[in-house]
């Protein structure tokens, strides 16, 4: 075990650190407002950075060259990500495509058409979104109803998707459909990739409680998709879903957003009974607890990395990282708002401490505990898949999909 860089890693780190310093976009020219994710100026800065990275071979470091990657190691990619985070130039727009969806897509399809989709994604010119959840099936992704019916060389799709992050700005989606309702639910699913401009596909943004609108509903009415856009086998879609969900939990489990350093800076600048909040013994105790949890997320992601570099897929244990990250983030945002006392109520960038970043996090935090697998589902995964405890009594097992009780 060694958390230090070995000599090659250290050399690589020095190289990318220097390169990032010389090439990273200067976000300080943006206003606080413009620095928020999905602001057009922010998105454009992210896209340009992606192009610069792609040209230098830093966009998809660990991907094989045939996929348009650099054929590097996962460790190198992780080092690059750490250095990006350190320089404050990490963006989330391309994460869904590059980290969750495309690796799963390429695992199942390696034809020329599929490979042709990759360069534009790597360069940040095209954005991908995940079209799995539906009004009646979120946790239960295998309960998808969105129907795909074969018609010659095409499939005709009818149904509705929901909670699709970034779909409003996406060019492509990975779509989960039901191709057979007469078999148990996991056995009648098929995945397609779809161009978001296909006729019959309509995206409607959903305003979230934070006031942002980066989740969407997607309506599909007689959308025709050629069979060559099918991912994996007919009725074999569940395998594709599993690959993406595992990638997603592993990526979310590596943690993003405000860090303990930001919390510490806030505590140091906020007056308390004596000195600053950082001097308050009760705060220090909480901070110590918070630190070990967020560090555990980071350090566990290194372990995941070690298993990835041995060629293993991210396993169910990455659920723990995602749970820890989302819950400690909610706790942290709550603490941060409280330590400001009444001023913690202020939300506008001009009025609020740290430009309102903690308040914005506070209003976002509930979503972190839901997206990418809810707390309850992830705990079930740990209990059943890691610890080997028996599963819940299932009313939907072995039952043809159309006979499963569904409430509303």
């Amino acid at each position: 075990m060694n958390f230090d860089d070995n000599p090659e890693e250290a050399a690589y780190r020095a190289e990318v650190r220097a390169w990032i310093e010389g090439n990273a976009p200067d976000l300080s020219v943006l206003t606080a407002e413009e620095r928020r994710t999905w602001h057009p100026a922010h998105k454009e800065a992210a896209r340009q950075w992606q192009v610069v990275k792609a040209d230098a071979g830093y966009a998809c470091i660990s991907w094989p060259r045939e996929w348009g990657g650099s054929g590097g190691t996962n460790i190198q990619e992780a080092i690059f990500n750490q250095e990006e985070a350190r320089a404050g130039v990490q963006f989330t727009y391309f994460m869904t495509g590059l980290h969750f969806l495309l690796p799963a897509l390429l695992e199942h399809n390696q034809d020329e058409l599929t490979l042709s989709l990759i360069p534009s994604a790597v360069r940040g010119d095209k954005i991908w979104c995940q079209l799995f959840s539906e009004p009646s099936s979120g946790s239960d992704s295998a309960g998808a109803r969105c129907a795909a019916v074969r018609d010659g060389d095409d499939w005709v799709i009818n149904g509705q998707k929901v909670w699709n992050s970034g779909a409003q700005a996406s060019d492509y989606g990975l779509l989960l459909t039901r191709t057979n309702p007469d078999v148990p639910k996991h056995k009648g699913l098929t995945v397609f990739w779809v161009d978001m401009t296909t006729p019959g596909l309509e995206v409607r943004p959903i305003k979230m409680m934070s006031g942002d609108a980066e989740l969407n509903e997607v309506f599909l009415t007689d959308v025709r998709i050629p069979d060559c856009q099918r991912v994996g086998e007919i009725d074999g879609g569940w395998a594709v879903v599993i690959s993406t969900l595992m990638n997603e939990r592993a990526a979310l489990g590596s943690g993003t957003g405000l860090s303990w350093r930001d919390v510490m800076a806030l505590a140091r600048q906020t007056p308390s009974w004596e000195g600053t909040v950082m001097d308050d013994p009760a705060f220090r105790e909480w901070f110590a607890d918070y630190y070990i949890r967020t560090e555990a997320v980071r350090l566990t992601s290194f372990r995941t990395l070690s298993s990835l570099s041995r060629g293993e897929a991210p396993g169910p244990e990455s659920s723990a990282g995602k749970l820890l990250w989302s819950n400690s983030t909610q706790d942290m945002s709550s603490q941060a708002v409280d330590l400001l006392d009444m001023s913690g109520l202020l939300v506008d960038a001009e009025d609020a401490a740290a430009n309102g970043a903690f308040q914005h996090r506070f209003l976002w935090a509930p979503g972190l505990r839901l997206g990418g697998g809810t707390d309850e589902i992830l705990k079930n995964v740990i209990a059943e898949r890691v610890l080997g405890l028996p599963g819940d009594v299932r009313l939907d097992k072995g039952v043809p999909f159309r006979e499963i009780p569904s409430g509303r």
């Binding site: 409680m209 009313l395 509303r408």
Partner: protein
């Protein structure tokens, strides 16, 4: 000993619930959310004033109904439950209580009848910037009868006609009564986590004000006012937390996942049971606070701090786990869950954050134990 509302109080509470359900549905709260403006619903405020609720606990000699604090607690619980977007807490729990506690006879005669009649909106302005309120480091100053400096955020600061302001003076901290309609008072809206409760930044530029209570005693008087407010706010918090639990239960009954009602999963059952327990902790401590407040018992400072700590924790837990129970729907602007998440934090901060009240509570427990030692 009777640790419950009387039958009359129960029927007052039922009546208040029916009334608020009719005049303050969540659609009314949402209307303020969408168009915050001054941060409340003036038409609704008028109707609530017409009910006479403003004077519920104000003595009859000052135009109130003199019903007592437990009745006011019952109303607070219903107001909290309904999320009524009105300046009731600022005007009644803080401004009026400050007058009752610290005002002289003339000040009470002049202002409490107006409060009782719903003719004025009042507020209390203490906070000046990030961090716990420190009365030894106030920047707003009161010199020669004039106030100068900035208070932010002041809840209902834009709608209020009068404010009681904590300021520094040559004699030490002081509470100052200020008419906010003067030209030397400038106010601007500030956006907060709960847009359904308005807030402002108020600049005083030599505004005329009169002392409330004794100069030099401002911080001590404020602490007493906050004890009263903490008990009353605890009832709003418990009312809101109960509503969250009901919403979560109703949804858990109707929503299906994996072919079963989500309420049939132990993860959800235990979550709701934990919310219930936290709410009972909040309620038990709030009731004790109501008793201490209504009898002006020596235990009031302790009971008020306990009520505030317990009710703030309950509402936080209930509001966030209600969202969690609702899944993706709960995270939308469209769903009502976030109205409670926002209000929970608003109420949890308005008279100081729980971390401050936990310290007060521990100190007051020590004081009470020390006093018992002397008595024994």
């Amino acid at each position: 000993m009777n640790f419950d509302y009387t039958d009359e109080q129960k029927s007052l509470k039922d009546e208040a619930r029916r009334f608020l359900a009719a005049v303050s549905p969540l659609t009314a709260v949402r209307a303020v959310l969408e168009e915050p403006g001054i941060g409340h619903d003036p038409a609704l405020w008028k109707r609530i004033c017409e009910q006479g609720w403003c004077g519920a606990a104000i003595p009859e000699g000052y135009g109130g109904l003199g019903m007592g604090y437990v009745d006011l607690c019952a109303l607070a619980e219903e107001l909290g439950r309904s999320l009524a977007p009105v300046p009731f807490a600022s005007t009644i729990y803080q401004f009026a209580e400050a007058l009752v506690i610290a005002g002289n006879e003339e000040q009470k005669q002049r202002l409490l009848p107006l409060v009782s009649a719903g003719e004025i909106i009042g507020t209390l302005a203490a906070s000046e910037g990030p961090g716990v309120l420190r009365s030894d480091a106030l920047k707003v100053r009161y010199v020669d009868g004039k106030l100068s400096g900035t208070k932010v955020p002041v809840i209902d600061g834009l709608a209020a006609n009068w404010a009681i302001v904590l300021a520094a003076s040559d004699e030490g901290s002081v509470l100052v009564l200020v008419d906010l309609s003067q030209g030397s008072v400038q106010r601007e809206v500030v956006a907060t986590l709960d847009p359904t409760r308005g807030a402002a930044r108020i600049h005083f530029d030599g505004a005329a004000g009169e002392v409330i209570g004794q100069a030099g005693q401002g911080a001590q008087l404020l602490a007493r006012v906050q004890d009263h407010a903490a008990v009353l706010l605890a009832f709003e918090q418990v009312g809101g937390a109960d509503r969250c639990l009901e919403m979560a239960r109703d949804y858990a009954l109707e929503r299906y996942a994996f072919g079963r009602q989500i309420g049939s999963y132990q993860a959800i059952k235990h979550k709701l049971a934990d919310m219930f327990i936290a709410n009972e902790v909040g309620r038990a401590n709030a009731y004790y606070g109501a008793w201490a407040l209504s009898t002006q018992a020596p235990e009031l400072p302790l009971a008020a701090a306990a009520a505030r700590v317990a009710a703030s924790a309950a509402y936080w837990q209930a509001s966030k786990e209600n969202i969690q129970t609702h899944g993706g729907i709960g995270f939308t602007w469209e769903a009502d869950c976030h109205l409670f998440y926002r209000r929970a934090r608003h109420l949890g901060l308005v008279v100081g954050a729980p971390r401050d009240w936990k310290r007060r509570l521990a100190t007051r427990i020590e004081q009470q134990v020390a006093a018992e030692g002397i008595a024994a």
